[in-house]
Subunit: 601 residues, 2 copies
């Protein structure tokens, strides 16, 4: 079956109708660009995706990386595919010209990357981590570190990782025990074990640059005593020659449910003399640097969740339009021709739900991309601060909602294909498996919900919370001018009221009651807020569609905009009402889960 990786018309809608990305070219940083150069980058990404990744998407999954005790091997087709991306410049599209970047707006780079992700770009994770690593070093490392490590990463000679998690402490980074000992030459000797290090070993580059969290001898315990180090797989001389082994040993590969092209490794550092490590920034500030990167990573995770949702939806849609099976209940003649399964109402329900989840999630992550741009390049300081406030606040939602609902969309894609969805001739079960990690890594849904309630909501007199509500009200005011959206703007006003009352109840409980109980249903709060945000973005999409429809567009566009309105209606009628139950649980500080004793299980 020929695959439609992404919906081009919808990407165009998101970029140029919903978020007005064309206006970005007025900003100095983007003055060399125009809509045409934006589209060229997207088309290049699409072409690389179709030429290099799509043909190996299945093979990347079925031929997992292997470790013979000495070397890790990946399928040979992956390296040229990654090289094609590096050569195109897309992997550092947003970087400055001076760093060999294209100075492209993040929202355009995100849109371009969706094609690569959809085509099996799990293999591209090596690149994405390398970029995140390089970005962090550029922001917080010394010029010497940048010269030595970032340049070869930008050129594709080296690749990078983030080495945080340890076997004994998991998400609880404050409990990590990897040790760093100061050496007389100003470097450190690192020893300890890390797990789940993505891209921790492979045969794709000359060297691997690990960013390792460790605790300098004598440092405070807990999160305040964590430092960040560059620990390369191989030491490199001052003139850039890759030299001897730095005692970074691969203890083993993990075998994952999905995302199999990217190695997940257990690494052992410095078993004999300690691996040589170079301090990034200052001692004991490591977690702060890492969080800088982690916030970016969380947007990337959300983007992956949204993209895989779209890819699964597009695939299931193509399939449903072309697969004849059965007849409608109204058809009394068993000898009449079969209908394509998209004619069955329940298949349409599953497709419409996917559309609502996938395009809702995509609008959210692209909005996040734009905020990450605005906080640096918006025309005024006020606008930059405003964007930063919104992005900080929304990050747990941008990370979680697309991960959770994107995976649900993939689950529905499997169901649309039925038995065919369960086998690897079709990629929907692969999308599901790849996507399932997104609600786990870079902070689980549970962790995001605590971040939202204990940090993001109360932060600076609730500035992020209030700014977000303001944005929603602005949209409602515009929607009120479209008669056909009355049902939805009314419902969104009610939903925001529910959210406000719930927030008040929860914050009240947090200050007056046992805090463990008050936070027991925090995930329901995150779900509630996520649904309101996505409902808001769907209303935004509905406004654009309504306005466009009033201008009597040609048939294909009329269909497209009607589809947007129908997905909006689906979300408001079939999904948004779920918040009633969640808010009621939160409002009453329901103690059912809190009261459950360990011995009762």
């Amino acid at each position: 079956m020929s695959a439609t990786l992404m919906n081009e018309r919808d990407l165009e809608f998101m970029l140029y109708e919903l978020f007005d990305s064309e206006s970005l070219i007025k900003r100095q940083r983007y003055q060399d660009h125009d809509r045409q150069t934006f589209n060229e980058v997207i088309n290049t990404a699409k072409a690389i995706a179709e030429k290099h990744f799509l043909p190996i998407r299945q093979k990347l999954d079925t031929h997992q990386p292997t470790f013979d005790g000495k070397n890790v091997s990946l399928i040979p087709e992956l390296k040229p595919a990654i090289e094609a991306v590096i050569a195109s410049g897309i992997s550092s599209a947003t970087a400055d010209y001076e760093s060999n970047g294209m100075q492209l707006p993040p929202i355009i780079a995100s849109a371009a990357s969706t094609y690569l992700t959809a085509a099996g770009g799990v293999g591209l994770g090596y690149n994405m981590l390398t970029n995140a690593n390089a970005n962090l070093l550029e922001a917080h490392g010394s010029q010497a570190l940048i010269d030595k490590w970032v340049k070869p990463m930008r050129s594709g000679r080296f690749m990078g990782t983030m080495a945080m998690t340890e076997p004994g402490s998991g998400s609880g980074l404050g409990d990590l025990i990897t040790k760093a000992v100061r050496s007389e030459d100003g470097t450190y000797r690192i020893s300890g074990n890390k797990i789940y290090i993505s891209g921790g070993d492979h045969d794709l580059s000359e060297n691997i640059v690990h960013l390792v969290l460790a605790r300098v001898q004598g440092a405070p315990r807990g999160v305040k005593g964590i430092s960040l180090f560059v620990v390369p797989k191989f030491l490199v001389s001052d003139d850039g020659i890759v030299g001897e082994d730095n005692e970074v040993a691969l203890a083993g590969l993990f075998h994952k449910m999905g995302g199999r092209a990217q190695t997940s490794t257990a690494l052992s550092f410095g078993e004999k003399h300690g691996s040589v490590g170079y301090l990034v920034g200052e001692e004991n500030q490591g977690l702060k640097y890492m969080f800088h990167m982690m916030n970016e990573a969380r947007i990337m995770v959300g983007t992956s969740g949204a993209t895989l949702a779209v890819a699964g939806y597009q695939y299931a849609l193509d399939y449903a339009k072309n697969r004849p099976q059965g007849r409608l209940p109204s058809c009394k003649d068993p000898l009449s021709p079969m209908v394509n399964i998209i004619e069955h109402a329940d298949v349409r329900r599953m497709l419409l739900a996917q559309k609502a989840y996938a395009e809702g999630a995509l609008s959210l992550v692209l909005y996040g991309s734009q905020l990450s741009d605005d906080e640096k390049t918006a025309p005024t300081i006020e606008a930059r601060e405003h964007a930063q406030v919104l992005l900080d606040f929304l990050t747990p939602i941008i990370k979680t909602w697309p991960s959770e609902y994107g995976t649900k969309a993939n689950d529905l894609a499997i169901q649309v294909l039925g038995g065919h969805g369960y086998i690897n001739e079709h990629p929907v079960e692969l999308f599901y498996r790849d996507n399932r990690l997104n609600a786990i890594h870079e902070g689980t849904t549970g962790i995001q919900s605590l971040d939202l309630l204990t940090r993001k909501v109360p932060m600076h007199n609730m500035i992020g919370y209030l700014a977000t509500l303001d944005e929603i009200y602005k949209t409602i005011d515009v929607a009120k001018q479209c008669n056909n959206l009355d049902e939805f703007s009314t419902q969104l006003i009610e939903a925001v009221n529910t959210l406000k009352q719930t927030t008040e109840s929860v914050l009240g409980a947090m200050s007056t009651r046992n805090i463990d109980l008050a936070l027991a249903n925090s995930v329901k709060y995150l779900e509630l807020f996520g649904h309101v945000i996505v409902a808001w973005l769907w209303l935004k999409q509905g406004i654009v569609a309504s306005q466009a429809l009033s201008k009597q567009p040609h048939q294909a566009d009329e269909d497209f905009y009607n589809g947007k309105l129908q997905a909006l209606q689906y979300f408001y009628r079939f999904e948004l009402p779920d918040i009633t139950l969640w808010s009621s649980i939160l409002h009453h500080t329901d103690s059912t889960t809190y009261d459950m004793k360990v011995d009762w299980f």
Copy 2:
């Protein structure tokens, strides 16, 4: 990690406290049994599960069956494991003594089988299908067919399959085109292609007995012209010698998301001269016979869904009790010891949800097992008919609810383990993948929902529907006598009222409006009914727990019963309220999905 496959205490509760299985020994068929022999069979199954299946559970998944163009190979450890089950008699535990069975009540056999399923008994699917095949032939085949094919299947020499699905028609059996031509000797020549034939080829037995749906030349089109044939892989002489090839060719193996130990095959029948087929029963009655088997198979699918849910829940529970990570929000000291993750309220929520889904589903499938027994062995004809009415009606729910919510439970088990849940060192992602098929095969959720609304509800003046409501009201009457259950009996009365009003609305729409529209939200009706049924069974469990608690049991039992009450409360407060939205969608005959035009997607 040592694995608790099933919760023994809970199985004991289900069998002897909830369903009073001990009283079955008063029935003549079971007069040789007592609680001790029941438990011996369960313990034997557990021992075989732990000895033969658990050690190969992971290997069965990672080492998929292979096909070298000539032969199919499975891992060698599977055959002795299956043979151990056959030798124990468990695989035909419910059969008559004359058929080498143990005349065990189905509910006991089901309970025993859960251990095998939890331990990786996907490999046992070969046995289960062979039994289903043999049961069908015993019910509908001639004595000659039984002598020739059933006996070697019962002894383990031959295995059996069900060959229904075809590439061109999928679930629409009425459109199948496999051809049968009458031969002068009374046999038929079969030709055509079948897909997704589980166990369609392997190296586990001397012969494979396919039950094939095909259309005799000149038969009516549609479902009324389908006949059923025995088509063996190898022909067998009258004295039982396995002889020449019968033109059943393996076209290929499918590679599935889960359930990988069981081959899923594309078979081609009779490419040259036609495969020899032996008619089962009468011509054109094939679908009726197959449905007889399919109803059994649907209970088995539900049982698999429930069992994998329990297995995943038990594993996640063990893990959460023993994995230290992080601290509670109330803990201000980052240097205090880490807590086990079960102390985190959100982990408890995910465990409690799993308990509510898994034990709710298990009670439902064991209830189904008992009904399938009662319809044959209950003391009075009235009781038998009553059981048959209930089972017929509830089959779509028994099939679907455990499949859908059991898979959700497995998804939560992955999330409890976090990164560890995503790798194959732990079996929870495997349980998820295995379970994901259950909402698809033997009739998808969408198909079950149409069966419920168009056949099961209106059938015989709604006799099944009314009988089911009667059973629920009986339980409510008992619950009203337990003060601590007031909240739940009141809520269930409301839920039943909602169900009744919704049923009225939907049946009204079906008779007065466009039938395709009236049925557009049929899956929501199935979900609504499923939730009411499971809420009812949880209330039943709550009654037993309350009564037991009033007798001041010892500590371990007190904890156990309190856990039951807490899971009941969880289901009523966090899950049952979902029916409000579903019933509203149905009550208003919401046309959102129906109105969505193909071109709008």
